[in-house]
Symmetry: C2
Subunit: 240 residues, 2 copies
Amino acid sequence: MDFQAAVGGSPCVTCPLRAASFCGALLKRSDHSQRAAGLRTQVHEGAPAQKSICRRGEAIDNVYVLCSGWAFRFIRLPDGRRQILSFLLAGDLFSAAMVFKDTTHFSVDSLTAIRFIRFNRVEIKRAAIENPEVLDSLTESCLTENRDADELTTDLGQRNAEERIARMILNLTDRLEQREVIREHRYPFPLRQQHIADYAGLTAVHVGRIMGTFRKEGILEVSENVLTLKDRAKLERIAA
Amino acid sequence: MDFQAAVGGSPCVTCPLRAASFCGALLKRSDHSQRAAGLRTQVHEGAPAQKSICRRGEAIDNVYVLCSGWAFRFIRLPDGRRQILSFLLAGDLFSAAMVFKDTTHFSVDSLTAIRFIRFNRVEIKRAAIENPEVLDSLTESCLTENRDADELTTDLGQRNAEERIARMILNLTDRLEQREVIREHRYPFPLRQQHIADYAGLTAVHVGRIMGTFRKEGILEVSENVLTLKDRAKLERIAA
DNA sequence: CGTTTCATTGACGTCGGTCAAGCGTCGTGG
DNA sequence: CCACGACGCTTGACCGACGTCAATGAAACG
C-alpha cells in the first residue's frame, strides 16, 4: 500500500478548476495573488476511495475544496440510514458553511480516490471580508447550495422514483459537461446503486429495477464504471 | 372589506422580534441606528390570509421580514404539485437569498393574515458590507437555511410518514417556544392538513390518518386552529 | 482460488395513494 | 330563520409504487 506515498503531501499540480464556482474567484489566481489575499496555508492532500474526509459535528478549522475525483456529502441517522445530500466534483467547495462555522451538520466521504485542498478557515474568512470578489463567490456558493437543497427536497417530496433518478443523472451530466469531461456521451460514473438509492430516498434494489428499464428502453447504460447516455431527450422527458 | 384600511400602510408598532435571527442584529436596533446603517426605506405592510406575497422568478428589489402571522415558502411544479420548503413565523427573514439576488427560486404565500417589512435590497446589501454585525447575522441565516433544508431532505428521503409529521410539529413547537407564544402546551395552528401534506411529501388523507392516531394515542389534538401538545415525550420518541 | 462486492431478478409484503361517501362548520343570501 | 354550497376532516375499500427477502451469477480482489 504505497498509496500514501503516491498522493500524500505533495502539492496538487493540475487542479482542474474550470468550474465557475467558489474556486473561480479563489483558486484561478496566481500563487502571488493568493498570497496577497492572505491565503498562505493551503494544504494539498489526497485520499483513497471510500474514506471519511470529515464528520458531522467534529471541529475543524479548514475549508475543503475538491481537486479531482468524486466525493459526497451526507447525514447518517442513528439507525444507520444515510441521506446523501450532494455529490462533489472537481472544483467544488465542500460547503460554504465550512467558512463560517467550525463544525458542520453533514459528513463527507470520498467515493473515488480524490485530491483536495485545505485552506485555513480564519484566513479565508478574513480574505472574504477584505476582498469583495471572494465574498461574492462565497455567497454565490451558499445560495447555490440553498437552491440545490430546495430542489432535492422537492424531488424527494413530490416526484416518483423514475423522475428522481432521471433528474439526478441529468444534474450530474450537466455538471460534468461544464467540466468538459464528457466524451461521446460517455463519462466516468463511480456510483454504486446504493449511492443512488441513498440520494434519491429509495432502495438499491428498486434503483436497479429503474436502471434496468432505462437500459431496456435504450436511454442509458452503466458498465465498467462508465455511463453512456444514449437518449438524453427521453431522459429529459421522464425528468419532466 | 376594510382590511386594507386596517393593516394597510401604517407602520408596524410591535414587531415581536425576539428570535435570534437576522432580525436580531437588524431590527432590534433603534430607529436611529437603523438609519445609521443606511436603512432608510423600510416599508411596513400587511396582507390577508392565503395571498401570494412573492413569486418564483419574479424580479424584486426588496428583502422581506415577517412581523406577525404565518407564511410559507414553496415551489410549485408545472402539473400543480406543491412542495412547501419552510414555514415562516414572526421575525423570520423570508430568505437570505433575497439579499443577494433579485429573483428567488421559490414563492411565498401568506397562511394567516400577516404583517411584514420590506427593506431595500441594495441598502441591506450595503449595510451588510459596512457593518460586520449585519453580515454575521445574514450569513448565520443563510447557514441555518442550509442546515434546515438538508434536514428536511433527510426527513423526506429516509423517514416514514409518522416520523416526518412528528418532526415537523416538534420543529414548529420549538420555534414558537422561542417566540414565547405557547401557553399551557397550546398554540395557534393555522395549517390545513393539505399544508402538512405538501411539506411532508404526503397526501392530505394520509396526514389525516396519522393525526388521527396521534389524537387517539393522546399525543396531541388540533381543533379550532389551536394545537394542544399533550405528550411531548411520546412525540419525541416517534420523531426518533 | 476462495471471498467479497455488486447487479439482477422473482415472489411477496406494506406503506401510503386514490376514490368516494358522510359529516360538521362556516359564510352567504333568500 | 333557514337553505345552500364551499370547505375541511374523517373513514373505509381498494390499489399500486416501492420495500423486503432471497437466490443467482458476474466481476473484483487479495
